[in-house]
Symmetry: C2
Subunit: 445 residues, 2 copies
């Protein structure tokens, strides 16, 4: 069930990154959209219609879509205050403890992230960069078959560490107690029971109930992702999430049972999830494949795993480690796990990945819950340019320019000369007036 | 020509930030699109058609659109190597010097920006965040009526400081010598004569001539911006640029001639540019208005300035300074200039702005060319969540997780417990196998 590829075969199949256009939607999805949104509807046009209706229609439009798409008939989107503590008390004690351990470690990790504000006086006067928190952030926490309290912790806590004063959460109705318990644990008081693209629309445009936010973060399904893309620029985003991916680089020193367990954990997420092993060792590949087959028998999400292993997963026999490094950098995996003899030196050469899990005791599932970094990491090869969710996602910088008169006069001719070349005479004049007008000196303390 | 507003009038007009939907395109633009792209075409659908055609058609499609939209008939998109030095030699000596002064200062500023990679061993094993450069960046430098060599310097240099190994530039045919001279000055060797959405498409999807990039930065016109939005997620972006804005907060201590010059410099960019003065001092407002009228007479871009002053510019009499601060934070200006008695303490309270120019010697035009920070700053209120272009735009971080066996065993039960609550049994199994399988110890050095 775990197919084996040569590097060149893999590059044409499981390792291939497409840049748009090659993933037609299933006809069943398109048919469903046609029924609701009219002939020729696409997911993009449906999302656009939902967003437009919320932008102009506010709460009643949100209510309508929640009813039509989620089957929810809600009098109020807000989760009542009393529900948070109630949920927290209602979950098992050991789960409460586990969430607390996880939250503490995520917070401890992100509290160590430096916020690199700086100024210098070495260039004349004071110049620098000042970071300040985003004022209001909306966090999408997916619901669906697997309620993910961990996703709430992994997005809310970095925002809190950044000092965001106003954090709200949207999650599909009816949220699992574990999600509300995680909210309670973090001190979050505003959770709206709104899912899908209607949640994104409500947060981006604002309604009477849901205040417009400055930035939306968090992963969701297709409609959430398409909605985020369409409101990009109106609000800030953390990125657009695709199916999750784990790539393991292993050599003969790896424990095949552990590697197999990590690949299976990845595969249970989603039929489109990728679980990929790169190894120069054909013996290890065979042992891992045997372990996958055996361990699979006792797992509850067997059907999903089989689909994921079939679709976008497999073993690549890489010949040597350099080939594995090259394939990994080209692929830019969300999670990159190193089960090799000397993982630290291998890690030095890997630069495109959301997270690098160094050594077999740093397994990916720990990263999902408790290692410290956010588990919201760049997918679909976006690790080429994007980062895991982190404190810097919740701040923005302002350039600071506080020049002294001498530096101003020294630089003004440069500005005037380039402005002239650019045909911007008012720019040039604004520079020259500082040089020409001695009265200006009276304005300086 | 510089209208005066009360704060509440201004909030309904010149200070109003719309979240989508309220800016219908001019009929003349739509008519032009219908002719070329068919009935019912919008700028969005036209850009989508151009991008699709380049994704599937490569260089010949780029050539076709360059010919149709820019009237360019090019045998090759690449600027020949010899042209760079030739252009550099051909521009006037004082302009060459000015570009050099500007480049040196931009570089000196960005070289001081910290790249906050870090690790800690305080949490068990090693965890942290490692920043590495984006590997290939495409920079769009607008052409049009005002060739902007400064835009090349302001985007290329932060990328170079970040260590991006492969930087390419697209700019409309035929680039001004000043742009090629700026490229030469920075050591850029790859400039493609491609403009508009076809440049974005070529860089996002790659063609035989133009390699696919990881990130696209730089501002352009409507078609560039729409194309960037549509390729968001396939490549990284710096943001979506709207019309430029300068807000000046001034009190009685300000020099009215200087304030007027700064507003006029802003207004000459674009008929949709905003030049806004906030002041509690009606006397200053009157003096500035008189200066604007007088200085305008000698400026070459008078028609553009008049339109800009009419459309989205004006003076707001704020009653007190606190009101000015509140309006400025709500507006989130690209450029925020403080011409007041004590600008430093005012700056402390301002948190939404691309750049804060503190004191009248730190005028905005210096920021355009020579102060040091990039002049590519967030517009349209996106300073609520976005930053000026800076070195961090050209790096991405990878989370590092290198736990020791003890920490792994301490955290594995937490991971397993939350995985169970989330219904992810293979996740739970991957954690429990680390606890159960003593053979794992043999795999650790």
């Amino acid at each position: 069930m775990l197919k084996t590829y040569t590097p060149s075969e893999a590059q044409q199949t499981i390792l291939r990154r497409r840049r748009g256009g090659d993933n037609p939607y299933p006809q069943s999805l398109l048919n469903g959209l046609t029924e609701r949104f009219g002939p020729g509807s696409t997911p993009e046009s449906a999302v656009s219609a939902i967003l437009d209706s919320i932008r102009t229609g506010g709460d009643p439009a949100v209510k309508k879509w929640s009813s039509e798409l989620d089957g929810a008939s809600l009098d109020s989107f807000s989760v009542p205050q009393a529900r948070f503590e109630e949920a927290y008390r209602s979950i098992p004690e050991d789960l409460r403890q586990a969430l607390k351990t996880s939250a503490d470690r995520i917070r401890a990790f992100h509290e160590r992230q430096p916020i690199p504000s700086w100024t210098t006086t070495e260039l004349g006067g004071t110049v620098g960069q000042r970071f300040t928190p985003v004022q209001r952030v909306g966090i999408y926490v997916p619901g669906g078959t697997a309620p993910l309290p961990s996703s709430l912790l992994m997005s809310v806590i970095p925002a809190q560490v950044a000092g965001v004063p106003d954090i709200l959460v949207c999650t599909p109705p009816e949220p699992d107690d574990s999600i509300l318990a995680a909210a309670y644990l973090c001190g979050i008081k505003t959770v709206f029971r709104i899912g899908g693209s209607q949640a994104v629309g409500a947060m981006a445009y604002g309604t009477k109930t849901v205040p417009a936010v400055d930035k939306i973060v968090g992963a969701g399904g297709l409609f959430v992702t398409l909605a985020k893309q369409q409101v990009y620029g109106i609000v800030g985003l953390d990125g657009l999430a695709g199916p999750t991916e784990t790539m393991v680089i292993a050599d003969a020193s790896a424990n095949p049972a552990w590697v197999a367990a990590d690949l299976l954990a990845q595969a249970e997420h989603d039929p489109l999830a990728s679980a990929i092993l790169l190894t120069p060792d054909a013996g290890l590949a065979a042992s891992v494949a045997a372990e996958v087959k055996q361990q699979l028998e006792s797992l509850s999400r067997r059907e999903t795993i089989l689909l994921a292993l079939e679709n976008r997963s497999g073993v690549v026999i890489t010949g040597d480690m350099d080939t594995a490094v090259k394939l990994a950098n080209d692929y830019g995996a969300e999670h990159l796990c190193l089960a090799v003899e000397d993982p630290d030196s291998l890690a030095e050469n890997l630069h495109n990945a959301g997270g690098i899990f160094i050594g077999e005791f740093s397994f990916e599932v720990l990263g999902d819950y408790a290692a410290g970094p956010s588990h919201i990491m760049p997918t679909s090869g976006t690790a080429r340019f994007a980062s895991p969710l982190n404190v810097l996602d919740f701040v923005k910088l302002t350039s600071i320019v506080a020049l002294d008169p001498d530096t101003c006069r020294r630089l003004a001719p440069t500005a005037a000369r380039i402005a002239d070349a650019e045909g911007l005479s008012a720019h040039s004049a604004a520079a020259r007036i500082r040089l020409a007008d001695p009265a200006g000196e009276n304005n300086v303390d």
